[in-house]
C-alpha cells in the first residue's frame, strides 16, 4: 500500500518539476497554477503515504535512512510552499523541486523497509531524527535561496538582463530568505545533533562511534554556526553569506551521501 501511494506522490513531484521549469522559461500564470497544484497533490499523497506507513508499522515513519529522507522531502516541500508564498518567489519550485525529485527517486529505488535495530528502540531516537530532518530541510531551502541570490547577483553585476534578472526576486528578498532559513534550520540541527551525540554516547559508549554521517554532519554544523555568527555579529550578508550557505550545503550533501553509500550506524 505505502510504496504505491509514495510512487504516485513522486509522479506528482515530477510533474510539478517539469511545470516549474517550464514556468521559468514561459511566464504563463496557468503553468504556475498547475505546478502549484501538482506540488500540492504530490505533497498530499506523500502525507498519506507517510501516515499509512506509520500506521502499518506502528511507529514513526523514520525507521530507516530512506524513510528519514522521505520525511525530509515532505518537510522540504512544506517549507518550499510556505517560502514561495511568504517571499513571493514564484520560481522557487524550479530550484527546489529538482532536489525533491532526486531525493524521492533515491527513496523509491531503495529497499521498501529497513527495520531499525532493537538497540534503537528508544523515544529519543525519534526526536533526534525528526529534529535533524527539519534542520536539513531548512538548509535545502537555504541552499536554494543562496543559489538564486548568486544568480541574481551575477545578472546585476554583469548586466545580463536574461531569464534570471526578470524572474528572480530582488537581492534583498533572497538574502532575507537565506537568513531566515538559516535561523530556522540551525536550532533544529543543533538540538538534533546534541541528542544524537548523547544518545550515541549512552548506547555505544562513544559520541561519534566512527560513523561517517555523524562526522560530516558536525562539519556542516560548524560551517552553519560560523555563517550564523558572521551574519548576526559581523553583519555579513549578500554574497559572502551565500557562499557559506553553498559550502555548508555541500557538507550536508556529503553527510547524506555518506549515510546512503557508506556503511555506518546510520545506514542500518
Amino acid at each position: 500500500m505505502h510504496p504505491t501511494i509514495f510512487n504516485l506522490a513522486v509522479i506528482g513531484y515530477i510533474c510539478a518539476t517539469g511545470l516549474a521549469l517550464a514556468y521559468l522559461v514561459q511566464r504563463e500564470e496557468l503553468i504556475y497554477r498547475l505546478a502549484d497544484l501538482a506540488t500540492l497533490a504530490g505533497w498530499a499523497l506523500h502525507t498519506l503515504a507517510l501516515v499509512v506507513l506509520g500506521v502499518e508499522s506502528g511507529r514513526p515513519p523514520l525507521g530507516s535512512l530512506p524513510q528519514a529522507i522521505s520525511m525530509a522531502v515532505w518537510v522540504i516541500v512544506l517549507l518550499a510552499m510556505w517560502a514561495e508564498r511568504q517571499y513571493g518567489v514564484k520560481v522557487l519550485g524550479a530550484f527546489v523541486l529538482p532536489i525533491v525529485v532526486l531525493l524521492s527517486l533515491k527513496v523509491a529505488a531503495g529497499r521498501p523497509l529497513g527495520e531499525i535495530t532493537p538497540t534503537l528502540r528508544n523515544a529519543w531516537i525519534w526526536v533526534h531524527i525528526a529534529l535533524a530532518l527539519v534542520g536539513i530541510a531548512a538548509f535545502v531551502l537555504n541552499f536554494v535561496g543562496a543559489l538564486m541570490y548568486l544568480l541574481q547577483d551575477w545578472s546585476l553585476k554583469h548586466k545580463r538582463t536574461g531569464t534570471f534578472y526578470y524572474r528572480l526576486p530582488s537581492l534583498a528578498t533572497l538574502d532575507r530568505l537565506t537568513y531566515r532559513t538559516l535561523a530556522l534550520g540551525f536550532p533544529f540541527l543543533t538540538t538534533g545533533l546534541i541528542l544524537g551525540a548523547l544518545w550515541a554516547g549512552s548506547a555505544w559508549g562513544s559520541v561519534f562511534a566512527f560513523d561517517p554521517l555523524a562526522l560530516f554532519s558536525f562539519l556542516a554544523w560548524a560551517i552553519y554556526a560560523a555563517t550564523l555568527a558572521g551574519r548576526a555579529a559581523a553583519g555579513w550578508s549578500g554574497r559572502r553569506a551565500a557562499y557559506f550557505a553553498l559550502v555548508g550545503f555541500a557538507a550536508l550533501a556529503l553527510t547524506l551521501g555518506a549515510g546512503l553509500f557508506f556503511p555506518g550506524r546510520h545506514g542500518s
Binding site: Q152, L156, K157, K159, T161, Y166, A172, T173, S237, R240
Partner: protein, 423 residues
C-alpha cells in the same frame, strides 16, 4: 447595422498631419453632434490623441459614414480632405472589434504597452456618452475593450518593465533593494535626467535625499526642489558611506568617484549594497568600482541596454497579449452574433404560440363540456408540436450566427414564417 472604425494613426500618418487633425474636448462635442445630425451614423465615438484620430461608429453604409465623419473633421481642423485619403484605414465588423480591443490594450501604440491610451479611450467614450451618441452596440464594444485591456495588463507583463532610462534605474534599484522605502539617495552633480531619476526614486519611497555639487548654491537649490539636504562637495566620501543609491551626473572630465573612495565608503557598511547610477558622459564613476563586492554600477549605456532588453521583453509579452485579444474577439463576436438572431427567434416563438393558442381555443369551443383532462391534453400536445417544429430552425439560426451568416438566415426565416421585417 455594421460596426466600423475609420481613422489615421502613427503608422499611417506623419506627426504633422496627426497634430493638425487632433481635436480638443469641446470641439469634439461639437463634431460628434454635427456628424450625428447628418443621420449617416447610428452611434458614434471619436478618439483623438497625439498618435491617432479614429471614428468608431455604427452605420448602414460604413464607407459613406467614414467620408462624412472625416469631411466634418477636416472642415473643423482646416485640413485638405484629399491629402488625408491615402492615410485613412477602415475596419468593419470583426476587424473593427479586433482593432478596438488592440487599441485599448495598447497593442497598437507607438510604445507597446504604454498605459495612457486606455485612459484616453475611456475619456473619448465618456464624452460621446455625454453627447448621447453612444448606443447599445458601441456601449458593449467599449466596455468589453476596457475589460480586455485590463486582462492584458494583469495577465501579461506588457507594461511591467521600464522603457525609459530613468525608470530603468528605479527598476534596477528595486532588483537590489526590493522596496525603496527608507533607502538613502545621494545626488552628485545636477542634470535633467538625474533629477528625474531621483524624483522617481522618491515616488517609490526613497528617503532621505542628499545633494552635493561643486557649486554650493546649486546644491542648495536642487536640495530644495527635491526636499533633500545639501552636502558640501568635500564631504562626498562620508555621504557615499551613508547612501544606498548614488546618482552621478557632473560635467567633470575625470572620475569623481574612484575605486579607492568607494572601498573606503564600503568599509563601515557591513556589506550593505551600494548602487551607482552614472548618467554622466564622460563617466563620473571609475568602471572598476562595479567589481567591488556589494557594489553595483550602471552607466548610461548599461541603462540603455536594460531599456532595450525591456522593450524586447514587452514585444514577447505583446505576442501573448495578441493571442488573448484574439480569443476575446471571437467570444465577443459569438455573443454579438447571438444577439443578432435572438429577436428573430423570439418573434418566431411568439408567432407560433399565437397560432397555437388560437387553434386550441377554437378546438375547445367545438368541445363544450370537455373534461379538464382533455383541455390539458390539447395544451400539452399542441405545445409539444410547436417545440418539435421550432427545434431545427432555432438550432440552425444559432449555428449560422456563430458561423457569421446569421443575417441571411434571419431573413429567410422571417420570409417563410411571415414575421415581418425587423426594425
Amino acid at each position: 447595422m455594421p460596426l466600423f472604425v475609420a481613422g489615421i494613426n502613427h503608422r499611417t500618418a506623419p506627426v504633422a498631419v496627426r497634430e493638425q487633425l487632433a481635436v480638443e474636448e469641446d470641439k469634439l462635442r461639437e463634431l460628434l453632434r454635427d456628424v450625428q445630425a447628418t443621420g449617416v451614423t447610428g452611434e458614434l465615438v471619436i478618439l483623438s490623441t497625439c498618435n491617432r484620430v479614429e471614428v468608431y461608429g455604427v452605420a448602414d453604409a460604413p464607407g459613406e459614414a467614414r467620408a462624412v465623419a472625416f469631411r466634418h473633421l477636416c472642415r473643423h481642423r482646416g485640413v485638405a480632405e484629399a491629402s488625408l485619403e491615402p492615410m485613412l484605414y477602415v475596419h468593419v465588423e470583426a476587424d473593427a472589434v479586433r482593432h478596438a480591443f488592440r487599441v485599448a490594450a495598447s497593442l497598437d501604440s507607438m510604445m507597446i504597452g504604454e498605459p495612457q491610451i486606455l485612459g484616453q479611450m475611456k475619456d473619448a467614450f465618456a464624452v460621446a456618452q455625454a453627447c448621447e451618441t453612444v448606443g447599445p452596440t458601441l456601449h458593449v464594444l467599449f466596455t468589453q475593450a476596457f475589460n480586455v485591456a485590463k486582462r492584458v495588463r494583469t495577465e501579461t507583463e506588457i507594461g511591467r518593465h521600464a522603457v525609459s532610462v530613468s525608470f530603468a534605474a528605479v527598476e534596477l534599484a528595486k532588483k537590489i533593494f526590493d522596496g525603496l522605502g527608507g533607502r538613502a539617495v545621494l545626488l552628485v552633480g545636477a542634470g535633467k535626467m538625474s533629477e528625474l531619476a531621483a524624483k522617481h526614486l522618491v515616488e517609490q519611497g526613497a528617503y532621505p535625499i542628499y545633494v552635493t555639487n561643486r557649486t554650493w548654491a546649486r546644491a542648495q537649490e536642487l536640495a530644495r526642489a527635491l526636499s533633500g539636504t545639501p552636502v558640501p562637495w568635500d564631504d562626498l566620501g562620508p555621504a557615499m558611506a551613508g547612501a544606498d543609491i548614488v546618482i552621478t551626473s557632473t560635467g567633470a572630465a575625470g572620475h569623481v568617484v574612484t575605486r579607492g573612495s568607494v572601498q573606503q565608503a564600503m568599509a563601515g557598511r557591513r556589506s550593505r549594497p551600494l548602487f551607482f547610477i552614472d548618467i554622466a558622459v564622460p563617466r563620473d564613476v571609475e568602471p572598476s568600482v562595479g567589481t567591488l563586492p556589494g557594489v553595483y554600477c550602471y552607466d548610461i549605456d548599461d541603462l540603455r541596454q536594460v531599456v532595450d532588453a525591456n522593450i524586447r521583453e514587452r514585444r514577447r509579452e505583446a505576442q501573448r497579449a495578441e493571442a488573448l485579444a484574439e480569443r476575446e474577439v471571437a467570444k465577443f463576436l459569438a455573443r454579438l452574433g447571438d444577439a443578432e438572431v435572438v429577436p428573430t427567434i423570439v418573434s418566431l416563438r411568439e408567432r407560433l404560440e399565437t397560432i397555437r393558442v388560437a387553434e386550441v381555443r377554437k378546438a375547445l369551443a367545438r368541445l363544450p363540456g370537455a373534461p379538464p383532462e382533455t383541455r390539458e391534453a390539447l395544451e400539452a400536445v399542441s405545445t409539444a408540436i410547436i417545440n418539435k417544429v421550432l427545434h431545427a430552425p432555432i438550432t440552425k439560426l444559432r449555428e449560422s450566427s456563430r458561423a457569421g451568416a446569421g443575417r441571411s438566415w434571419t431573413d429567410v426565416v422571417s420570409e417563410l414564417f411571415g414575421l415581418g421585417r425587423k426594425p
